[in-house]
Amino acid sequence: MDPFAVFGMAPAVDLDRRALEARYLELSRACHPDHHAAAGADAQLELLTRAATVNEAYRILRDRWQRAEALVALNAPDALAERKVLSPAFLAAALELAEEVADVAGGSADAAKLRTRVDHLIATEWDAVCAGVAAGDWANAATRLHQSRYHRKALHDLQR
C-alpha cells in the first residue's frame, strides 16, 4: 500500500501535520461504515476495507520515521531489506548506549545528560535520512532508518 496515494498527497518526508489531519478526517467521513449503515453487505465490507486502509495509511503518515520508510520503499523497494546489516562499529556503540540507559537511575543528573545525548543522536539520524532522501541516496537513507531504531529504543527506555 502506498499511503501517500491513499491520501492523494505528493510523497515527501515533511508533511504539514494540519493538512494531513484535515485530509484524514475528510477521508474518514467519506468512507466510515457508520455513515453508510443502510448500504448492502458487499458495500459495507468494501467500505470497511477502505476505512481500514485509510486508518493504516494515516498511522504511517503521521509518524515521521514510518513516513520516511514508506518513501524509501516506494522509490527503492529492496533498499530497506538490503541495508539491514549494520556496521560492527555502529552496533558496538549502540550496545554500549543500551547498557548505559539500563544502568542510569531515573530522574538523576546522569539521566538528563544521557537524554540530551540520545536526542542529539536521533536528530543527527533524522537529518541524515532527510539528506539521503533529498539526494535520492535511498541506500543511505535506509541504513540511517535502521540505525535510528536503536536510538529511538534508547529514548523509549529512558522515558520509562
Binding site: 478526517l25 474518514s28 461504515p33 455513515h35 486502509t53 493504516e56
Partner: protein, 613 residues
C-alpha cells in the same frame, strides 16, 4: 405524562443502551438532544439484577429488593463474568453469593428453574427489561440498539455482549465504548473542540480514554483500563473490614453464609455512598439470626482502604496519556463517568494528577446511555455531522514458533483496522493450517488471552512451503475480529472455522434464539401491556382536551373527570393490566353515552394520533 416529550425525531427508533455492572438504562435521540427513558415512576436506572426465587424471573428493582431474602437465587454483577472462562473467573466467583459452575470449555453457567443459564442469557434478561421500560416510555416497540461496553473489553467480551442483545430480541447495530459514548454526550452541543480525558469508574470496570474532538469528529487517541476494577471492589474491601470488626467484637459474622455476605455487601455499598457526602457514617446492621450490630467509618478510613485501587486507576491514566503522547497540561477537559466517581478520593486524586478540576456538567450515571443514543442516531442516518473514530484496546496477534506472540494489529490502532499475513505449509500435500489467535500485550502467547483457534482448510495439495495463504484479519467498528483467507496461487478461498475460547459458539446462539419461543409469550404480554398503556394515555389526554371544549352539564363533567382521574391514577401506579383495562372501560362508557359529542370525537382523534407501532 412523559410519553409525548419522548417521541423520537425519526420514524426508526434505535435505542442507546448502557448495560452496566450495577445499573442499566436506555436513551433515545429526541428532536434536539438525547433523552433518558424512564419508567412510570420516573426511574431511569434498572438495577442489573435478576432474581429467580419463587419460580419467577424478576429483573431490576424488584429483583434487587429480593436479593437479601434470596441471596443464592439473585444474580448481580453478571458483567464481570461475561465473555470469560476458566481460572480467570476464580476471584470473581469466590465473592458471589450465587453458585457459578463450570460448563463446557470452562464457561460459567448457573442453574435456575432446572435450566442452565449463561451470562449472555442473564444479560439478555436485563436488556429485555431495559427494552420494556423504553417501549412503555416511547409507546412503541423497538428492535434495534447500540449497546455500550467498557473500552477495555476484549473481543470475546464484546461478542458475548452482542449475543446477549440478540437473545433479548435486539439487533445490536454497534458496540460502542463507554468512555467514547460519554464524550459524545459531552461534546454534542459543539464548541467543545479540544482534547478530552474521560475517567470512567463503574461498578465493576475501569476505563480511561483520551480523545480529540474536532469539527464533529470524536477521535480516540488512546485507551487504557482494567476490566476488574470498580465500585464492587471497594464495597468488597469495606465488607471485609466490617466482618473483621464484627469478629473482633465476638460477633458471628460468617462470610460463608450467603445471607450475611449479601447483607455485608449491601451495608458496605450504603456506607460508601453515605461517605461520599459526609465525613463520617454509622451503620446499623441487622443480620437476623446473627444479631444487630453498629459499625462506624470515617471518610479518611474509607480513603485509606480504597487508595490502592484508585492508585491502580491512576497508573492507567498515566499509560493512556503516554500512549497518546500527551501530558496532563495538553488536556482541555477532564470528564468523570460512572457512579464510583462520586467518591471524593477519586475526584481529588484525579485533580492532583491532571492539575485541573474535573467537569461537573455531565451526569456520571447517564452520560454513557445518552452518548449511545447519539451514536444510534448517527447509524439510523439521522446525523451525518458527527463521526466516532475509536480504537482497539488490546493488540491482536497470532502464535508463532516457540509460543511467541506475533502482533498483527497493535493496541490503540483506529478501527476499522486490517492486516494481511501470509502463511504456508510445512509438510507436502498439507491441506490445513492451525492458527491460534491471541489478544494482549505480552511477548509470549501464554501470557495473553487466547481468543480462538482458526483452522485453515481447503488448501490445494502442493509441496511444502509452496502454498501461499493470505490471511486477512479485519477488526470492524465494533472492535470485533473477522478472518478471511485466500490461497494466493490458486485464488481459492480457504475455509475458516472459528472455535471461540470464550462465550457462545455460533450454533449455541442460533439454538438459544430458537429457544426464545418461551420469550415470545413474555413478548406478547409485554405488547398487550404496552398497547393498553398507550390507549390509557391517549384517553386521558383526549378527555382533558375535550372537557375544555365541550359545554356539558356539571354533573356529567364531574363524573367524567372522576373516571379520567381514576384512569390517570391507575397509570401512575402501574396497576395490573386487568385493572387498567377496567379503568379504560369505565371512562369510555361515560364518554360513549354522549353520542356524537365533541368528547368522543376528540378522544377518537387523540387515539388516531397515537404513534405508529
Amino acid at each position: 405524562m412523559s410519553a409525548p416529550a419522548n417521541e423520537p425525531a425519526s420514524e426508526r427508533v434505535v435505542l442507546g443502551i448502557d448495560l452496566g455492572t450495577t445499573n442499566s438504562l436506555a436513551a433515545v435521540m429526541g428532536r434536539k438532544a438525547p433523552l433518558v427513558l424512564r419508567d412510570a415512576d420516573g426511574e431511569a436506572l434498572v438495577p442489573s439484577v435478576v432474581c429467580f426465587a419463587d419460580d419467577q424471573i424478576r429483573v431490576g428493582r424488584e429483583a434487587k429488593a429480593l436479593a437479601l431474602q434470596h441471596p443464592e437465587q439473585t444474580v448481580y454483577s453478571i458483567k464481570r463474568l461475561i465473555g470469560r472462562a476458566g481460572s480467570e473467573l476464580d476471584a470473581d466467583v469466590a465473592s458471589l453469593p450465587y453458585q457459578v459452575e463450570r460448563g463446557e470449555r470452562g464457561l460459567p453457567r448457573m442453574q435456575f428453574h432446572g435450566k442452565e443459564w449463561s451470562p449472555e442469557a442473564i444479560s439478555a434478561l436485563i436488556l429485555q427489561k431495559v427494552k420494556a421500560v423504553a417501549e412503555a416510555s416511547l409507546g412503541r416497540s423497538v428492535r434495534q440498539a447500540v449497546v455500550t461496553v467498557p473500552a477495555y473489553f476484549d473481543d470475546a467480551q464484546r461478542q458475548a455482549t452482542k449475543d446477549a442483545a440478540a437473545l433479548a430480541g435486539l439487533e445490536c447495530l454497534r458496540i460502542v465504548n463507554e468512555p467514547t459514548a460519554a464524550s459524545l454526550a459531552f461534546g454534542i452541543d459543539g464548541n467543545k473542540d479540544g482534547t478530552v480525558l474521560v475517567y470512567d469508574l463503574g461498578g465493576g470496570t475501569f476505563d480511561v480514554s483520551v480523545l480529540r474532538i474536532q469539527d464533529g469528529v470524536f477521535r480516540v487517541l488512546s485507551t487504557h483500563g482494567d476490566t476488574r476494577l470498580g465500585g464492587d471492589d471497594i464495597d468488597a474491601l469495606i465488607a471485609a473490614r466490617i466482618a473483621t470488626a464484627l469478629a473482633a467484637k465476638g460477633a458471628d459474622a460468617q462470610t460463608k453464609d450467603p445471607f450475611v455476605r449479601q447483607a455485608l455487601r449491601r451495608a458496605a455499598e450504603n456506607l460508601k455512598i453515605e461517605l461520599s457526602t459526609r465525613a463520617q457514617a454509622t451503620l446499623h446492621l441487622d443480620l437476623g439470626a446473627h444479631g444487630n450490630h453498629t459499625f462506624a467509618m470515617t471518610q479518611g478510613e474509607l480513603d485509606d482502604l480504597a487508595r490502592p485501587l484508585i492508585e491502580r486507576s491512576m497508573a492507567s491514566v498515566r499509560a493512556a496519556l503516554r500512549d497518546a503522547e500527551l501530558s496532563p497540561k495538553d488536556i482541555d477537559h477532564v470528564l468523570l463517568v460512572g457512579g464510583s466517581t462520586r467518591m471524593p478520593l477519586v475526584r481529588k486524586s484525579l485533580q492532583d494528577r491532571m492539575g485541573q478540576a474535573p467537569r461537573a456538567d455531565v451526569d456520571p450515571d447517564l452520560a454513557v446511555a445518552l452518548g449511545a443514543a447519539i451514536q444510534a442516531d448517527i447509524l439510523a442516518g439521522g446525523n451525518r455531522s458527527l463521526l466516532l473514530l475509536d480504537v482497539i484496546p488490546l493488540s491482536l496477534g497470532i502464535e508463532t514458533m516457540g509460543g511467541a506472540m506475533s502482533k498483527l494489529i497493535l493496541r490503540n490502532s483506529t478501527v476499522p483496522a486490517s492486516k494481511t499475513e501470509e502463511f504456508s505449509t510445512q509438510v507436502d500435500s498439507q491441506t490445513g493450517v492451525d492458527i491460534n489467535i491471541y489478544q494482549g500485550e505480552r511477548e509470549l502467547v501464554a501470557d495473553c488471552r487466547k481468543l480462538g483457534a482458526f483452522k485453515l482448510s481447503g488448501i490445494p495439495p502442493m509441496p511444502a512451503g509452496l502454498p501461499r495463504v493470505a490471511v486477512t484479519f479485519l477488526v470492524d467498528a465494533d472492535g470485533l475480529l473477522t478472518v478471511r483467507a485466500i490461497e494466493q496461487r490458486t485464488g481459492q478461498e480457504a475455509t475458516i472455522r472459528v472455535v471461540p475460547s470464550f462465550g457462545l459458539s455460533r450454533d449455541e446462539v442460533r439454538r438459544m434464539m430458537q429457544d426464545s419461543i418461551t420469550n415470545a409469550f413474555t413478548d406478547m404480554a409485554a405488547r398487550e401491556h404496552l398497547e393498553t398503556h398507550n390507549k390509557a394515555i391517549a384517553m386521558v389526554r383526549g378527555t382533558q382536551r375535550a372537557l375544555e371544549l365541550a359545554d356539558l352539564p356539571s354533573d356529567q363533567t364531574y363524573s367524567i373527570r372522576k373516571a379520567s382521574k381514576r384512569l390517570e391514577k391507575a397509570l401512575a401506579e402501574a396497576v395490573p393490566i386487568e385493572d387498567l383495562k377496567a379503568a379504560i372501560e369505565d371512562l369510555s362508557q361515560l364518554t360513549a353515552q354522549i353520542a356524537d359529542d365533541v368528547i368522543s370525537s376528540a378522544v377518537h382523534k387523540a387515539l388516531a394520533q397515537e404513534p405508529p407501532k
